[in-house]
Symmetry: C2
Subunit: 185 residues, 2 copies
DNA sequence: GTCTATATCAAGATAGAC
DNA sequence: GTCTATCTTGATATAGAC
């Protein structure tokens, strides 16, 4: 099966959302796939290699949602929030955002993975800045807005709220989002 | 030494900030203290027991900062942000917020720890709501504000930004905070 | 390309000496 | 209260058969 490799990547992505990078194991992965640990080690010799592959997978997903949002028919001023809502749809029920999970383990990871996580984190900001620029050109944002700072606030509050939501319940995220929209009016 | 127990708790708190709860080990803890694993198992039979003790330690720290902020001489409208800034001072250099670290491992932890983490998370919101109420009475917030929603936004964006700051640099947090203050003007 | 088998190591935990 | 010694488990990883 030539897509065994991508099958492993998808399952790892799910496992990272559930357990985090350091806590998921090849053993558990193998059992879920009905293969042996050795077979996973064949495709990804070290856990770090699998980690890097998952980062690239996340990067692609991020890019895809960006393009879809950018080209979609919805109003430009809605696109930053549409992007965020679209992204969190991909999260497993009660899972953490995989980028947040990787950030949490950041200090324990190899340099190769740290660089990937940096790229991912920066990409999230850049994409939001781009969508905010479009929104601004359509007149929905005050011209004084520092768009990078606004993107940083959007991504920070989103990720923070996702963490609390798992502990304090679904409502938490919606309350945060409504409050944010209220302040941006 | 009767405070060996609290010595262990403090060191564990540091370790959770650096590695997360599931990733720190009794072995590493013991070496840092110059004792054996067994000695730590004596004070905290199971890792879960140590985890609960650390949660209570965090809870106390949270309460202490709340009281100090509440009773301090600074203007009431500054207190919510003063509280947040005071809290993040306790973080190790490049460490994660211990509550965020515990939230990240939430699903893998025992029920006793999950309950403690819930309490901690809710307490953070409650404390901010209280400080925001004081600020509002002093006229610095629009009367239409939903204070719980505002507290949720404050704590979410703070925690999210702390995660990104470790990866993207010190500036990230400050930009988020300035943007937030700008929107609240 | 996938398997069995195994090496190696570190983890949490316990029993019992001092 | 702290130690040595040890048990058990589960992790990453490798060698080599098929």
């Amino acid at each position: 099966m030539t897509n065994r490799k991508s099958q492993i990547i998808e399952l790892t992505l799910k496992n990272i959302q559930e357990k985090g990078f350091t806590s998921f194991s090849y053993d558990h992965l193998a059992k879920e796939l009905g293969v042996t640990k050795a077979s996973i080690h064949y495709h990804f010799e070290k856990k770090e290699d699998l980690g890097v592959a998952v980062c690239e997978r996340i990067q692609k997903g991020l890019g895809d949602v960006y393009i879809v949002t950018k080209e979609s028919a919805i109003a430009a001023e809605e696109k930053p929030f549409a992007f965020i809502l679209q992204r969190i749809k991909f999260l497993e029920q009660n899972g953490v955002c995989p980028i947040s999970a990787l950030q949490a383990d950041y200090q324990e990871l190899s340099q190769a993975m740290q660089e990937k996580i940096q790229q991912l984190s920066q990409m999230e900001v850049d994409v939001l800045v781009d969508l905010l620029q479009d929104a601004k050109q359509h007149g929905s944002l005050k011209s004084t807005e520092d768009l990078e700072a606004l993107a940083i606030l959007l991504i920070s509050s989103t990720k923070g709220a996702l963490q609390y939501k798992r502990v304090l319940g679904e409502d938490f995220f919606h309350k945060m989002l409504e409050q944010l929209k209220e302040l941006l009016k």
